[in-house]
Structure formats: C-alpha cells, structure tokens
C-alpha cells in the first residue's frame, strides 16, 4: 500500500461528501414531492378527485392487491414488455448483422430504414389488431416494432464505426470476414449495442402501453384506460406509479448488464 498524503485523503473525503449530498437531496426531492401532493389534497389546494393523492394511490394499490388482480396486471404488462424488448433487440441486432454483412443490401435499404425510423410505429396499431387479432400478440408485436428499427439503426452505426484501419489490420493477418466480424466489429460495437438496449427498454414500454390502450383485458395500460373511463383517477395514478417503478427496475437491470460487459 502506498502512503496516502493528507491532501489526497481530503480530496477523497470531499468527493465522498459530495456523493452523499447528491443522494440525500435526490431522496428529499421525492419526499417533498409526495408530501406536497398529500398536503395539497388534504388542505384542498386542488381537487383530490382529479389529481388523487399518495394515500389514495396506496389505497388503490391495496385494493388491487386484496382482490388479487394486482399481480395479474403487473405480470401481464411485464411479460409483454420483456418479450417485446427481447424480440425487438434480438431481431434488431440480427438485422444489423445482416446489413453489415451485405453492403449492397445495406445501401438499398438505407432510405427505407430512415423512413421506418422516423415513422411513428404506433400509427400501425389499428392495422396490427386487424391482422393479428385483439390480443396479446398484437401488443407484443407493437412493442417489437417500436424497438426494432431504432435498435437496428443504432447497432449498425456501431458496426460501421469500427475503424477502417482495424479491418485492414485483420486483412493483413489473413482474417476471414467472419473472423473480422467476431474479433473486431462486434466487440467494437458493444458500447453502441448497450445504448441501443437502453433506448429499446423505454421503447418497449411505450409500445406495450399503447398496445394495451388499444386492445387488452389486463395490464397496467388497461388499468389506466379503464380508470380514465370510469373516472377512477386513483387507479390511473396507481398504475402510473407502478409503471415508473417497473421501468426504473428494468433500466437498472440493463445498466447493470452494461457494467458487467464493458471493462
């Protein structure tokens, strides 16, 4: 162990203190937000029937829990999102590999990809329902569509970012195209793939919730639509709160994966 100077200790202490300050303030923001919300509802600053309140949201979650439907809604939405996410990123990466491998096809497809990327895939929702029926498969396909194109575009960008000179190096070593891909292009694309995953997580939630708005008999999106229609805003808020927690957890899982993979 190298002797650590006073100055360095002070420096370490300073950054630790700062980190604590940030964490505590973050927590405080959340606490103050909920406290004001609750207080405002209790003191009649706004109509709690319209804006609900944390205690009402908790009560709504409690009711869902006791009548046993909470887990049904959570798992329905979670299942659809995870499936949409896995299929969307899986197919997206596969498509990116294919386009990298076939430059001619890539060049042909380029304008179509640009248009597909710009198109709001949600607009296809009603068409999907006609094609696939008003069920879970329409919702999952919606989530796939929303995350697929953006994954392809981002990952393909990562593949083509592998420097020309690194590929020249592989040629001088006598590498085949497959070897160049596996040893250089793919690892060089990992950071891009990770950011694609992060975008794709959010996109899958969008796809699933919109899908559930259009067709569903269960799920958090269903709860939101149903709650809105019968003016149970407590239910709507409860679903939104659960949704935020789930989305944060899923994003956290991807961030953890990123830290595991990249050095």
């Amino acid at each position: 162990m190298i002797a650590v100077s006073q100055e360095h200790l002070q420096y370490l202490k300073r950054i630790a203190r700062r980190r604590h300050a940030v964490s505590i303030t973050r927590l405080l923001v959340l606490v103050v937000f909920f406290a004001l919300w609750e207080l405002g509802a209790a003191l009649g600053w706004f109509d709690a029937f319209i804006l609900s309140s944390p205690s009402r949201v908790l009560a709504a979650i409690g009711r869902l829990y006791t009548d046993g439907s909470l887990w049904i809604h959570v798992f329905t939405t979670l299942y659809e999102t995870v499936m949409g996410f896995l299929l969307g990123t899986g197919l997206g990466v596969a498509l990116a590999v294919l386009l990298w491998w076939l430059p001619f096809v890539n060049e042909v497809m380029d304008p179509y990809l640009v248009i597909l990327n710009a198109l709001p895939k949600i607009a296809l929702g009603p068409v999907l329902i006609v094609w696939l029926g008003a069920g879970m498969s329409s919702i999952i396909v919606m989530a796939v569509l929303v995350s697929l194109v953006v994954t392809t575009v981002t990952v393909l960008g990562g593949f083509t970012a592998a420097e020309e000179e690194k590929r020249l190096l592989m040629r001088t070593l006598g590498a085949s195209k497959a070897q160049t891909f596996i040893k250089v292009v793919l690892p060089a694309g990992v950071p891009h793939m990770m950011s694609a995953l992060k975008i794709s997580v959010g996109m899958s939630w969008v796809g699933v919730i919109v899908g559930e708005y259009l067709v569903s008999r269960a799920g958090l999106g269903y709860l939101i639509v149903y709650g809105g229609q019968v003016f149970k805003l407590d239910l709507v808020m409860a679903a939104v709160v659960i949704l935020s927690v789930l989305a944060a957890l899923m994003y956290g899982a991807v961030a953890l994966l990123e830290r595991k993979i990249s050095p």
Binding site: E163, E165, K166, L169, T172, L173, G174, K183
Partner: protein, 248 residues
Amino acid sequence: MGEPLLSVEHIYLNYHTPQGETHALEDLNFTVDKGEFVAVVGPSGCGKTTMLSLIMDLNPPSSGQVRFPLGPCPMGYMLQRDQLLPWRTVEKNALLGLEVQHRLTKESRERALALLQKYGLGDFLNHKPGQLSGGMRQKAALIRTLALSPELLLLDEPFSALDYQTRLSLADEVHTIIKEEGKTALLVTHDIGEAISMADRVLIFSRRPARVKRQVTFAFPKDMSPLDRRADPSFQEYFAEIWKELDR
C-alpha cells in the same frame, strides 16, 4: 549474390474514382535480398503504401508481377498506428494473428510470450493497450506481427504517429529486433533520417506515377545502431544526397 527474396517486376497500378483515373505506379522494378533492410522514401502520396499492399497481395496490380524467387515467403505487415484492440490484453493482442490463422499452439504461444518478455513487455502482459505508452504499444504491434514468424516484414511508416524522442529510441529497438530475429524488412517512410539510420539501402521513389528514381546503398560499418549512424559524419552527406534527389 544469388536470387533475391522479393522481386517486384514491371508493376503498373492505376486506381479509379468517379473523378477519374490515377496512375499510381508506373513500371516499378526492384528487388530485396534475404536478410536485407531496404527503405523506400518518396514524396507523400506517391504510392508507397499502395506498393506495400500490392506486395502483401491485398490489392492486385493493373499489370506486372510480384515474385518470390526463393519460394513462398510468409509476410508480416506493420501499420502506421498500432491498432491494438483496446478490449484485449497485451498478451491477447500479441496472439491475435496466431488465433486468426488457427496456428495458436503451446509452442507458438510460448514463442510469442518469449518475444514479449525479451523486448520489455513481460510485466505488461495483462495490461490493456490504453495503459501503455505509444512506443510500447507499437512494440506490442511488432511482436503481434513477429509471432507469425514472417520472413519479410513490411513496415508502413511505423513510427510516424510517435513523438520524436520515442521515434528515435523505438527505431533503435526495432532495428535490433529485426536484425536479431534475422528478418528481411521493407520500410516505407517519409523521414529521410529514419531511412538512413535503419536501412542497408534506400530506394527513392519519384512523384506520381511512381517508379524507382535512384537507389543509395549505405556504407556504414556492420552492426552500427541507428542512433550511432545518426552521429556518423557520413549521415549528413547521405541526407543531403537523398534530399537533393527528392527535391529534383
């Protein structure tokens, strides 16, 4: 002297862009003997690098041929920048070529490790390239090439991305390594001093379309190191001679 190791014969190369056709090489002829260290100098953009990729058979010439009269000649290529893969350790980088050619055996691995050990990278086997200095990285790149046991080394301005001091000391080291390992080398450079200090003979290329304008064989005592050559009185004379030829 018998047959040369490498014989470049009547090479023409034109390359095409939508803007038109460029004559890069025109009736290029030269030979390199086994064990010789030959440098190529010429104006920038005169097709020196193109010539190396022709010899390496990465691109075909428009006409003419590259022959190896002594039989098949394994070659190694060293690029301007080290191009070490940042996610691999130094050891894994050095073994990359062997891996790619499916030649990674216990023996070849030990040979590569011995080279790393011998040339001062032994303590950095598990380091990532990012943790090494520019000179050490380029040395690791050279060992990646040497691990494949090439007969002929093609060096494409391998020191140009380094700072001056590193360049001088690394040139010294690389010269030693190449001589110790008994390799033949063809060095492309725009640095006249580098050519004089390292090579046995220098080929001066003309402006595009390039051909060999002249060649100069150096009469330095055998085993004189590049740094000592730079201090030798004849160094300046050679420098002036080549400079004048390039300028003409």
